[in-house]
Amino acid sequence: MSIVGSSIQDPASSIKHLGFSMQDYLWLIPFFPLVGFVINGLLGRKLGEKAVGVIGSGVVLASFVAAVLAFLDLLNLPSESRLFVQTLYRWIATGNFAVDVGFRLDALSMTMVLVVTGVGFLIHVYSIGYMHGDRGFARFFSFLNLFTFAMLLLVMGSNFLLMFVGWEGVGLCSYLLIGYYYDRIFDETTGLTCAGAGTKAFIVNRVGDFGFLLGIFLIFATFGSLDFETVFKTAQSSTVSTEIFTAIALLLFVGATGKSAQLPLYVWLPDAMAGPTPVSALIHAATMVTAGVYMVARCSVLYLQAPIAMEVVAVVGVATAVFAATMALTSTDIKKVLAYSTISQLGYMFLACGVGAFAAGIFHLVTHAFFKALLFLGAGSVMHALSGETQLPKMGGLKKYTPTTFWTFLVGGLAIAGVPGLSGFFSKDEILWKTLSSAHGSTALYFVALAAAGLTAFYIFRMVYLAFYGAPRMNAAVMHHLHESPRVMTVPLMILAVLSIIGGYIGVPHFSQIEHFLDPVFERFVPAGHLAAEASQESFGLELSLMALSVAVALAGIYFAYQMYVVKVGAADKLATRLPGLYKLLVRKYYVDEIYEALFVRPLNWLSENFFWKIFDVKLIDGTVNGAATVFGGIASVLRRWQTGIVQNYAVTLVVGLIIILGYLLVR
């Protein structure tokens, strides 16, 4: 545990016996998807669907294999020296500002890389079936590969600037893929187009990224470097004031709220469902949206120096968890329920980070990637079966028609609800326990988080019952086409279902593997004990009884969903008519979109049109440019008379000039 102060030995020495060391080839991991992007992007239309699919998935598989090799190398090292750094070249060097292009692989980024490439590969394979016959097939795969590249850059970058490049890269791919069906309307009621949804995601993320960028500036101003190793080492030993740390941590967290869809910048994620379902699974559930959690965990050293910022992170996280969960209760769109669920689960991860349990947050990130990707892909399979239908009221009874989808979806549902034995149970319970037991946590946070857990179990099983149980509610044409998805889609579902079950056993409390794997990252610069306090033996009983409590809450949520949607069909509608105000508030999503529209969008549009365009741009900028042209034109119209076209006039000028110069020289 006490590795502070000890220098890190040369990691290469202990794995020389392998002959081939992955740490010199770290760049291969992000390089493969980049190759896929270039091939599919340039030649995709000529290659045909099969080749594009194989190349698109193959490059991600290659990355995954490279990542596993690196992982094995990493495991061969003693836990406190598990760190590979590979610097490729110096990217920027001006004065005292120097940034390298380099990759950093420690337990934290290793975990992320394995999730991104592993889950990413399954989703790529699934997409071959899901996107079959789409005219933008090659475009889709090239964007997906580009995304994987950017995401790997984000998690592997060895400094803040490279991380930011990846951060913006995934944002770009998110925009491109949300607007993939650029010619379609996404939301009939509001008239939002798919392209509009992409723009919304991009603009909301700009707000967060602005904060992130300011945070990076402040880090450079404070520490004089952007390299993780240097910054964190300096942060631990320097005498920088708490206020500066708080400012840095909060600014970075603003970036995280944008990318990871937390209050108040979560509004883009539900509309991001305009993209194809594999995109929702990969980008808007498993990987990109967790970038904020990764960033906070990566900067744990900075956060631990700023208790106020930690508190903000925890409160925002838990508030988002419960707030988003309530909106999922009434949403009728299968993908939007999952989107709100994602926001809610991300809130959980931030809660974990906020109470200092960074490893628990990352653990939940991993299990969430499994079961939420599973749920999204399951939802995609349902849509595939129902000719693209996403509305829960038009589903029902699918259990019989799509058995594989049903069983795998059920596993995902049980996992996210926190039923014992599945992955979600272990990670969620770890967070709940740390919320209560950690020095940064509190009882209030615990009970709000517990309430969110109950809501989660309820809305997930509401969705399961509405989609798969009861009588079919689709029309005859859809019913006629009803079919189980092809193997290329169901096999990834089954693999993810298995992972959703066993994924939790990498982090069983007290036998925990993942936390022992991750902790050295967080304790590298921080004395042990500053993190969430280790549970003492006396509290083991308390931990068990709290575990029982959270299981009871989860089962209660499932039970109520069963009662409302299976036993007494129509009970939900009755409840809605009895509480019309509350129901309307939830259906309209707390009017947040409307409030933002009135507070920010419309005033900004008005200001842009009436000031920035009509006055600032037209009058000031165009006026300056045109004015300069007019002035010079006026002067020229007088001066050009000089140019008569008669050579003798020029010769006279020449001679007169010569005489003047000669005369001057003589007189002088």
């Binding site: 050009r640 008379r641 140019q643 076209g645 008669i646 003798q648 010769a651 001679v655």
Partner: protein, 99 residues
Amino acid sequence: MPLGYYLVLSAILFGIGVAGVLLRRNAIVIFMSIELMLNAVNLTFVAFAAHLKNLEGQIFVFFVMVVAAAEVAVGLALIVAIFRLKETVFVDEINLMKW
């Protein structure tokens, strides 16, 4: 004869040449004026060469004469071409190169 006489003559010739170039309209006359200026310079060269007992000035004169001959060839060709186009050799009527 003293050097000064040659220089004065040369200056007078040069002045006549300049005046011709600046004042005459006929391109051929302007050409002749230019020749006058060149030869004024040649006279100076020769005068100085004799005065300084130095051959270089005399050799330079040959260069100037060669250049002048070439120039006449090119210049007259230009004037012929312009005359074919505009049917005039008066330079004040050839003023297309203006605003």
